[in-house]
């Protein structure tokens, strides 16, 4: 595994095949918990951990699982990992566990986890698979974080509210009140706000891509993409 492969995996996860705004997988947590940055990023990181672990544990056993039962076996392994993460968070990060509540067990139903296992870990070695899970998870986390920031600023006029629940009492003063005396904008907090925000993010990414393509066409000396090989991904 060379450096270029690692770069490809991260470029795919974070931008080219970003689960949140390109593959549009994992919308359930995207809609539900992205009402604040802290919730969104915490769940994103928990999902990244589960994705890295599930890819890591499924890649080495991929040749022992008969094709007909691979989906139930994969789901079984993912569910076990999620439950283990849930127990550990309940025991050692109680505050965060209470905040994320029902969304931790729901990571099992997040289709991006199974999608990466099926598309990547069942065809590749353990180390690249783990990196792929991590990169995809971080890509999702980034989208969740940006969407959470948009919705929180618009909906409540704050940033990082609830950060003390994730990081402990020392973070109590870290909440930023972006707009003072803000009355709130309900639709940004409700699920429609998540849909609209996600639509804007997808449009923004497409616009950036189009602009890069046009630039490349008018100036053929510069390479079209930072990494043309990734186009096969």
């Amino acid at each position: 595994m060379n450096l270029q492969e690692v770069k490809d995996i991260f470029y795919n996860g974070l931008w080219k095949q970003n689960p949140g705004i390109v593959q549009l997988l994992g919308l359930c947590p995207l809609l539900a918990v992205s009402s604040t940055v802290v919730n969104a990023v915490s769940l994103g990181l928990a999902t990244s951990l589960v994705m890295a672990l599930s890819n890591l544990s499924i890649a080495p056993i991929r040749s022992y699982v008969p094709n007909e039962i691979r989906i139930p076996v994969f789901i079984l392994i993912i569910a076990v990992l999620v439950t283990v993460v849930q127990y550990l968070m309940n025991a050692y990060m109680y505050g965060l566990y209470v905040v994320l509540g029902i969304f931790i067990p729901l990571i099992v139903t997040n289709c991006i986890v199974l999608a990466r296992v099926e598309a990547f870990a069942s065809k590749n070695a353990a180390l690249p698979s783990a990196l792929d899970g991590l990169a995809m998870g971080l890509g999702l986390t980034a989208v969740l974080g940006v969407l959470g920031a948009m919705r929180e600023v618009l909906g409540k006029g704050t940033l990082f509210s609830g950060i003390d629940l994730a990081l402990g009492d020392m973070a109590q003063g870290w909440v930023l009140h972006i707009i003072p005396d803000y009355k709130g904008f309900l639709i940004a907090i409700l699920p429609p706000g998540a849909f609209i925000g996600l639509g804007l993010l997808i449009a923004g990414r497409n616009w950036l891509n189009l602009r890069a393509e046009q630039k490349a066409r008018s100036n053929p000396v510069t390479p079209a993409l930072a990494n043309p090989e990734a186009a096969q991904g």
Binding site: P66, I69, P72, V73, T83, Y94, L186, I189
Partner: protein
């Protein structure tokens, strides 16, 4: 035919193997984390009790001075719950009750209340709920000060008709767009206070009575 049977059996054995492995991993994690989880839950409970009951109100070991309350309609409970008794210099000072509001927007809301011996609320907190995040969850303390509005209230101060949200002609605030949640909580708190009035002496009875007596 035999080949099909053999491959089916092999596949089944494979699935069984993974299920057993998964169960073993889950069971061992459960046993490894069980004590730690119990500890954090107890710590959380004591933290909650201390929030609604100023430390100056009691000098006994409140976590151990408990009374088992069987399922009760006024408390909305369907199983045994524990009442924690606070005593100061041997005098009854307050009791902590658990109560369930059955009619929240998304199901039940678990509450914990501290009632002083004179029937005045020392405080109320929400333990768990499934209300809409960002909308109905202001009943929870970190997300809003609403629940502190119960401090110092009693049934001597407010009549039955006052134990409602302002929209229904009562005395309690609510937030536009989420009235069902506070309505359910106010109703449950009032009912818990009625329970306290009716069972005051039993609640403070000195030692934990035997199970037969509480039934």
């Amino acid at each position: 035919m035999r080949r099909i049977a053999r491959s089916t059996l092999q596949t089944a054995a494979n699935l069984v193997f993974f299920s057993v492995l998964a169960t073993a991993i889950l069971a061992s994690t459960f046993f490894l984390t069980r004590d730690e989880i119990k500890k954090s839950e107890d710590a959380e409970k004591l933290k909650l009790i201390n929030q609604i009951m100023p430390g100056a109100l009691y000098d006994n070991d409140i976590i151990k001075d408990t009374l088992t309350i069987p399922a009760n309609e006024l408390l909305g409970t369907e199983g045994d719950t524990l009442a924690y008794r606070a005593r100061l210099k041997g005098e009854d000072s307050a009791v902590v009750l658990e109560s369930i509001a059955p009619d929240g927007y998304s199901g039940r809301i678990w509450l914990i209340l501290a009632v002083r011996s004179n029937g005045e609320l020392a405080g109320v907190r929400v333990v768990t709920h499934k209300e809409t995040p960002g909308l109905g969850d202001y009943i929870e303390l970190p997300k809003g000060p609403w629940i502190k509005g119960f401090d110092g209230k009693s049934r001597a101060l407010y009549k039955d008709a006052d134990w409602k949200v302002k929209k229904d002609g009562g005395q309690f605030d609510y937030m536009a767009g989420a009235t069902i949640t506070p309505r359910a909580v106010v109703k449950a708190v009032n009912k818990a206070l009625i329970y306290f009035e009716e069972n005051r002496d039993k609640l403070f009875a000195a030692a934990e009575p035997k199970k037969e007596e509480t039934k």
